[in-house]
Amino acid sequence: MDRIVEFHDVVKRFGQTMAVGGVTFSVASGETVSLLGPSGCGKTTTLRLISGFEEPDEGTIRIAGESMKGKRPYERNVGLLFQHYALFPHMTVAENIGYGLKYRGWPKAEIPARVAEMLRLVQLQGFEPRRPPTMSGGQQQRVALARVLATSPKLVLLDEPLSALDAKLREELRLELKQILSAVGSTTIVVTHDQDEAMSLADRIIVMNRGCIEQEGTPDEIYAEPRTSFVAGFIGRANWFCGRLGKGPDGAFVTLTTEAGSTLRMRAPQKIDDGKWRACVRPERMILTRPDAKSDGRSDNLVSGNLVDIVSLGGEIHYVVEGADGRLLAVEPNRGGPRVNKGERVGLSFQPEDCVAFPLAEA
């Protein structure tokens, strides 16, 4: 497959701060990749490096096989969808969408037809004469998308594309955005701190932290097989157990003896040491049971505690359990209200396959 973007050992410093510390990745043609991380993780700098607003201190960036060294933003055919749309307020919708066409050398006569085509794509037919300030946030976002896609850029960058919209609109537009992007077959990089945005839009996620890549993989891989405790903690919710590892009865599993004295079985990490470890279990993998539930032949892990809170979110119910190992969260789908009463003593069982251990020093 053609590689549209290639980052090779890219370093960018601002004074003493290392914003991007030796990042290598590539994006294939037609692929949608998300750069996901907390603020300050280097994702925005990466975006600015791709679009040409910053030059790397070390390493090379290639777009469609061509080195971007010394190329100004207007010399790269990279479309950037700004977080707050950045529509030109003194121009009409048609002039906004036509702006890039004009500067990318489209024949003047063909511009109106292309503008109409783009407006059809984002379902805003007939909006040509409107001015952006008179339009809603969702409409402005679509115009901005149409403006970016009009020139058929080699690469489309989306900077926190939906964060400026309210929750309901965000959901709608997310689906639409995905459809539009796949309809035009563009290669896309979504820069975001919102894991829902990343998971729903991207074929592949690159998790960044402190200027480096923590993990690359499909949304499912990242969620189910986090490689570092940072990834485990950043993507989705997690319950944590701290303790020391010991050899298990068979090679595939080890035991974690927590500080509170519970013994949990879990998947064996690649290498084991005597240091402190922490293990992560996803809340939806924890099953609420009776506190004395005997493991049914399968050696599931079992911890117990008091049910201190029940939060019903409509579609799912969150059970907050306070036990010897601290506060734990179990999430179950809502099938006719909570099964247990607040204040009761309950058990939480989960399978060893669903526990992933990380050395504590790393965090």
Binding site: S51, G52, F53, R72, P73, Y74, R76, V78, G79, L80, F82, H84, A86, L87, F88, P89, H90, Y99, G100, Y103, R104, R147, T151
Partner: protein, 281 residues
């Protein structure tokens, strides 16, 4: 209290304004229609009204004062606007906060420097007796030629226009979202074309305000053309002064003042209308 403040609160300012602005202006207007009595300071009270003072202004030698004033003022204002816009852009977008504070302080303190001091400094340096005399002559520029003096007067005006317009434009440029410029670049517009199509149109109101400030200051300038013009370049204000003080022709001086006032208001009105009309389309 949702009610608008009652008329009562506007009264003190209104009163002061009426007494010290409208009343003298009305007096001036009346005076401009009186016949001139040589040897007398001010027109005879109850003299019959006449348009003679205005008719006189239509003669080419008088019109020349107006065209000259307007031409040099327009030139200085437009040049000043170009300088100020680039300066203000540089200060807002390129300087550190500390550098910005120093630059703003510098421009503000410039305004405190007496116009006499600055004008004489210009005359000393670039005037007919200045150190550049030989150099100017060697490239064929005569320091006493009309063109050179006009440029010198414009330079004197720029001394005021640039700080004033720069300070006006600082907030204007601050209010233009820099991401719009970035967006224009990602859409393929090179830097200067992005500025022409984005930054400049979005600074329209500020540019208009800065232009009107500069122009109003220039056409009413008095000391600068008096010193730097050396009698060869005279502004309307100099003519008015001459009428009032040297030949004591109050009615004529009044008529010139009224015309200058009318011209200024017309220019402000037309410019504002024109710029706003273009926006509305």
């Amino acid at each position: 209290m949702k009610r608008a403040p009652s008329l009562f609160f506007y009264l003190p300012a209104g009163l002061v304004f009426s007494v010290f602005f409208w009343l003298p202006l009305a007096g001036l207007l009346l005076e401009s229609f009186r016949p001139f009595t040589p040897g007398r300071v001010g027109a005879v009270t109850d003299a019959p009204l006449t348009l003679a003072n205005y008719e006189e202004l239509l003669t080419p030698s008088f019109l020349e004062f107006f065209t000259q004033t307007l031409r040099i003022s327009l030139f200085a204002s437009l040049v000043g606007l170009v300088f100020s816009f680039t300066l203000a852009y540089w200060i807002t977008r390129r300087m550190s906060p500390r550098g910005r504070a120093i630059a703003i302080g510098f421009f503000v303190s410039l305004m405190f420097l007496s116009v006499l001091v600055r004008t004489y400094a210009l005359e000393l340096t670039f005037g007919a007796a200045g150190p550049f005399r030989a150099m100017l002559l060697s490239v064929g520029i005569y320091p006493n030629s009309r063109g050179y003096i006009e440029i010198l007067v414009a330079a004197g005006l720029l001394h005021y226009i640039v700080p004033l317009a720069t300070l006006t434009l600082l907030t204007t440029i601050q209010n233009v979202d820099p991401r719009l410029f970035d967006a224009a670049q990602t859409l393929g517009a090179p830097g200067w074309r992005a500025h022409l199509s984005i930054t400049l149109p979005l600074s329209r109101d500020g540019l208009l305000a800065a232009f009107l400030f500069s122009f109003a200051f220039s056409i009413s300038a008095f000391v600068i053309p008096m010193i730097l013009g050396k009698g060869r370049v005279l502004f309307v204000s100099n003519l008015i002064y001459n009428r009032f003080s040297e030949i004591a022709d109050f009615p004529s001086g009044a008529a010139i003042s009224v015309v200058l006032f009318a011209v200024s208001i017309t220019i402000v009105y037309v410019t504002t209308r024109y710029v706003n009309r273009r926006e509305a389309v």
